[in-house]
Amino acid sequence: MILEVFVTALISIDNLTLSYENMTVIENLSFEVFDGDYLCVVGENGSGKSTLVKALLSLKKPDKGSIEFGDGLKKNEIGYLPQQNVAQKDFPASVYEVVISGCLNSRGIRPFYSSKDKKRALDNMELLNITDLKSRSYRDLSGGQQQRVLLSRALCATKKLILLDEPVAGLDPIVTAELYDLIKKINKSGVTVIMVTHDFPAALKYSKHILCMTEEDWFFGSREEFLKSKFVNFMRGGEELD
């Protein structure tokens, strides 16, 4: 039993190369995500963070290398918050319809949603303070409200792992603080968290591991290792530029 805790990586990324057409975005990236980890992915705009997230979700095929899920993880146990809002402007969908669609991955072939799914959706809406928006149309909401709706949906889909691509973008400071608390709680309950963020202080405060990506290079290690590395200066510098 003790051995297992050490051996099982939830996800192993080995020599991963990702590119668009002929432009290589990520080259020879290797790291592991452990069960119960809280990994923050930081780095410049355009360094390939979102592309990496898409590859982890098998939305993007690796050009080279591999992404392997450990025994513990199936695709339908993953929650995801995309960076860009993909739904079209005129899409008719209520907030509740969007949130509960996150429960779909646990339904398998079965039709409709169970009362358990419905409760899960309502609970997650409560967590993000959007219960009163339940029957509002998603397209009529503000950016921050839409972000919270998509977060509730991501929580509905999450069983073992949640991938968050810039979750606090568009949120006010109070909601941001609440959100970090919430993610911490979820992580404590055993869910592995991978979060892309530009919020450097938050990354340092909450993460167990950090993946730092720049145009040419990358760093992966524990938070303590990161603080001792040269990348920490780079990030501080980058932070000031913003």
Binding site: L59, I78, Y80, F91
Partner: protein, 273 residues
């Protein structure tokens, strides 16, 4: 009015057309919501042209029309789906190419078979006379299957329509459901083509969805409202076509266009109040 309706119901040809028409309208409208939102409405249009080509060739070669058209249109549906989701080839141009190509082949086939009794007009613009009692049986079976599958997979259809990437990322087999939608669309178009005509059948897919999207703001209401609008406009179109002796396909499209204007205005009024 009541007189006209009772006349319609006393004619077996008209009753057959009614049964097929109501079922097809319902199927087309439900699928239409997803197709319109996924920007796939051109696929419906392309498929109806392919269907015309298949029917024409079946008639010329003296084969059972449905038996030829169903597999051909289903194959075309998968092909068009792949073309439009593949970013490299221009999807809309590919669809236009396939649909005009099929149309050309169909017209050639029909005109080369002068000896046979094929009415090009009814193929293109539909005719209630062309609905045989075998067609009714096949249509009823197929449309019940389409409706059942749609309701059974409703939650999945919503998810892949709203955000296909999220659905894929979290373990829903989006590609399979996309193919399912294409398959159901192909079946609906083949069933409705004889009655509505291949030029007009795709209006059944597009209009009801666009109408209800003017007024309703959640997916379920839009879907239900589409179904209702579609059946009502079909019945109204049939009655007009009978009373004014106009072709039924064209009459139905006109009623649909009119109802779009009405829903557009209702939507505007709703917004301001």
């Amino acid at each position: 009015m009541i007189e006209i309706i009772s006349e319609i119901f006393s004619s077996p040809i008209l009753v057959r057309a009614m049964i097929v028409g109501i079922l097809v309208s319902l199927c087309a409208a439900l699928l239409g919501v997803s197709l319109v939102l996924k920007r796939f409405s051109m696929i419906g249009d392309g498929l109806s042209h392919v269907g015309f080509g298949a029917l024409a060739i079946a008639a010329v070669m003296n084969l059972a029309p449905m038996a030829v058209a169903i597999p051909v249109v289903i194959i075309a549906a998968f092909l068009l789906l792949r073309l439009s989701s593949n970013g490299k080839i221009k999807g809309d141009a590919a669809i236009a190419m396939i649909s005009t190509g099929a149309l050309g082949v169909g017209v050639m086939a029909v005109s080369m078979s002068k000896g046979m009794n094929i009415d090009l007009n009814s193929y293109l613009f539909g005719s209630i006379m062309s609905v045989s009692s075998e067609d009714v049986v096949i249509s009823v079976i197929l449309s019940v299957i389409v409706l059942f599958i749609f309701v059974f997979f409703y939650t999945k259809i919503f998810a892949i329509t709203f955000d296909e990437n999220f659905a894929k990322a979290t373990g829903t087999a989006a590609d399979i459901y996309n193919m399912l939608i294409a398959l159901l669309t192909a079946m609906t178009i083949v069933i409705g083509m004889r009655l509505m005509g291949s030029m007009l059948i795709s209006s059944l897919i597009i209009f009801p969805a666009l109408c209800s999207m003017r007024v309703f703001k959640n997916f379920k209401s839009v879907t239900i409202c589409s179904g209702i609008i579609s059946v009502i406009t079909f019945l109204a179109g049939m009655i007009i076509s009978y009373a004014a002796e106009t072709p039924c396909g064209a009459s139905i499209v006109c009623v649909n266009a009119l109802s779009f204007i009405v829903f557009y205005i209702i939507g505007k009024i709703k917004k301001t109040t």
